[in-house]
Amino acid sequence: MIKNIDNARKIKMGSSFMNSAIALVISLILGMVIIGISGYSPIESYIAIFGVSLGTLKGFALSLSQATPLIFTGLAFAFAYKVKMINTGAEGQLYAGAMAAALVGAYITNLPSGVHALLGFAAAFLAGGLAALFVALCKVYLNANEIIVSLMLNEIIIFFTSYLANGPLKPPGSGVGQTKMIEDTAKLTKLIPQTQLTTAIFIAIITACVLAYLLDKTVFGYEIKVTGHNLKASNVAGINVSKISLITFALSGAIAGMGGAAMVLGVNYRFVEGFSSGYGFAGISIAALAAYNPIGVIFSAFLIGILKSGTITLNRTTSIPVELVDIIQVLVLIFVAAPALIKSIMSRAKKVRSKSSREEHMEVKTSDI
C-alpha cells in the first residue's frame, strides 16, 4: 500500500515534465489557429519557423541571443517562486539593471575589458536586487501584495529611466531616448560575428547552474524550500523566514537585473528607452514551463527563443504576426498552471476514468487523519 503511494509520487515527479510537454504541444496547436487566421498554412509556417531558427547559423545564433534575457527573467521568477513569492517585477528590475550597467559602461573608464563588463553585471545585479528588496520589504513587514507592489514599481522604474534617457543622460544630438554609448571595454565578446550572440549566454547558463546547486546542495537552499512549502514549520525549525524571503526575492530581482546588463553590454551598447519587449513577463511562462527548475529554465527559454527568432525572421517576408509568440507563451502558462486542465483534456481525449477513483482515494486519506 505504502509502496504504491510512493510509486505514485515518482510518477507525479516525472509527470511534471510530461505536463509541460503537453502544455507546449497544445499551445503550439492553438498557435496554428492564429497562423491559419492570418492566412498561412500552419504546418508549413511552423516548419519555416523551426527551419530558420535551427537550420541556419544566424537563425540559431538569434535564437540563443533571444533566449539570453529570457533565461535571466525565467530564473528570476522561478527562484522567487521557491519561497512562494510571485515576482511580477522582473520587467522593472530588468530596466533598473540595464540603466546601472549602462552607467557603469559609459562613465567608468580605463578598466580592463573583462573586468569592466563584469563590473557592469555587478552594478545591474545590485540595482535589480535593490528594486526587488524594496518589494520584499513591503511584503514581509507590511504584508503588502508583492504582485501589486512590483507592478507599481515597474511603472515607476520604467518612467524614471525613460526620464533619465530623455533628459539628463541623453547624449547631445540623439533623437530617441537613450544614454551615451558604453566604452569598448564594457562590451561583451561576440561568439559569432555579426550576430547578437555574446558571452552573456554563458553568464546566463552559469547563473542557472549556480541556482540549481544552491537549491539542491546548500543549507540556504534547504531553508528556501522549507520556507516555500510551510511557513509555520520553518518558524518552528528556527529558520529566519523573513530573512530567507528577503534574500531570495532580492536575489530574484538581481538576476532579472543581470538580464538588463546582458542587453546593454551585449546587444544595444547603451540604455535605450523601451528596449524590453516584455522579457520580464515572458519569464513567468518560461519558469512555469520549466516547472520552476533552474536547469529547465535554460531549455524552456531556448525554446521560446527559437519561436521568437523564427517569427522575427519570417515577419520580414510574410505577415505572420510577431505577437504569435506572446500568445503561445500565455497559453503555455495557462496550461502548465492548470495541470488539472490538461488532465481533463487528456482524459476526455482518452476517455480514461481513472481520475475520479484517484480523487476518492485522496479523500479516504484525509478523513483518516
Partner: protein
Amino acid sequence: MTFNAEVLYSIVASTLRSSVPLILAALGGCFSVRAGVSDLGLEGMMLAGSFFSVLGSYITGNAWLGLLFGMLFGAVFSMLHAVMHITYRVNASISGMCVNLLATAATPLLLNEIFGMSGKSPIVEAFKKPDWQWMNNIPVVGRILGAQNVLFFVAILLVIVSWIFMYKTKIGLRMRMVSENPHAASTVGLNVTAYKYFGVAMSGCLAGFAGAYLSIGQMNLFVEEMTAGRGYIAVVINAFGKYNPLGVFGGSIFFGFFDALQTIFQNIFPSQLVMMTPYVFTLLVIALGLGGSRGPAGVGKHVDN
C-alpha cells in the same frame, strides 16, 4: 479670483472624469472578492473591454452597442480567470496574471488581424458629452457635473445598485457568505461554484465597462495598452475601500484626484515624472499600510463537492 475658481472647477471635473474607470473597475473587484475570488485580472479584463468596445462600435456604429460589446468581452476574459481558478484550482494570482498577459498579447494581435493596424485603431463612434445647457445655470455643481460624460452618471448609479445588491438582498448575503466561509455556505446548500462564477463574471462586465469608458468614453479609439495599469490601481483601491462599493467610490475619487493633478502639471514638469506620480502615490498608500485591509476570510478557499 475667477482664475482660481476656474482651476478649481477644472480640477474637480477632471478628478471625477479620471475616477470613473477606477470606480467601475474597482466595483468589479468588489464583486469578485465578495464572491471569494481575488481580483488581479482586472487589468486584462479592462484592456479587453477597451478593445472590444471599439470593435463593437466599429461594427454597429453605435457607442452603446460598443459598450455592451466591451462588457461582454470583459466577461469572456474573466471566464479564463474563473475556469482556471474556480474549476481547476490554480492560484488566483497566477490565473489573474494569465488574463492580463493574454489581453496584453491578444489585443495588438487582434488590432493587426482585424483592422490591419498597429498601435491604435481607427476612429469609431464614441459617447458624446451631453449638451445640457440647463446644467450651466446651476452654480458650482452644474458646472462640474455638466462637464461629465453620461457614463459618469451610469457609474454612480452602479455604485448604489451594487451596494444595495450586496447588503440588502438575499443573493448579496449569500454571495458574501461564500466569500467569508465557502464551507459554511456549501453546508447550507449554496452552490459555491455558481456564486464564484457570478462574482467573477460581474467583475469582467464592470472591468469591461471601465475599459470601454477609456476607449469610447473619453476617447474615440483604441490605443495599445491604453489601460496603463489602472486595473492594478483598481485592485489597490478595492482593498483601500474595504471591498465595499461605497468605500471603493471614495477611494476612486481619491486616486482620481492624483490622476487629475497629473493632467494639470503635464506642461510644467517632464512628462515621464508626471506620469510616474499615480504609481508613486499608490505605492505610498500601500507602504503606509492603508491598502492592506483584510478582505473576506474565505477568499481563495475551495470546497470539495
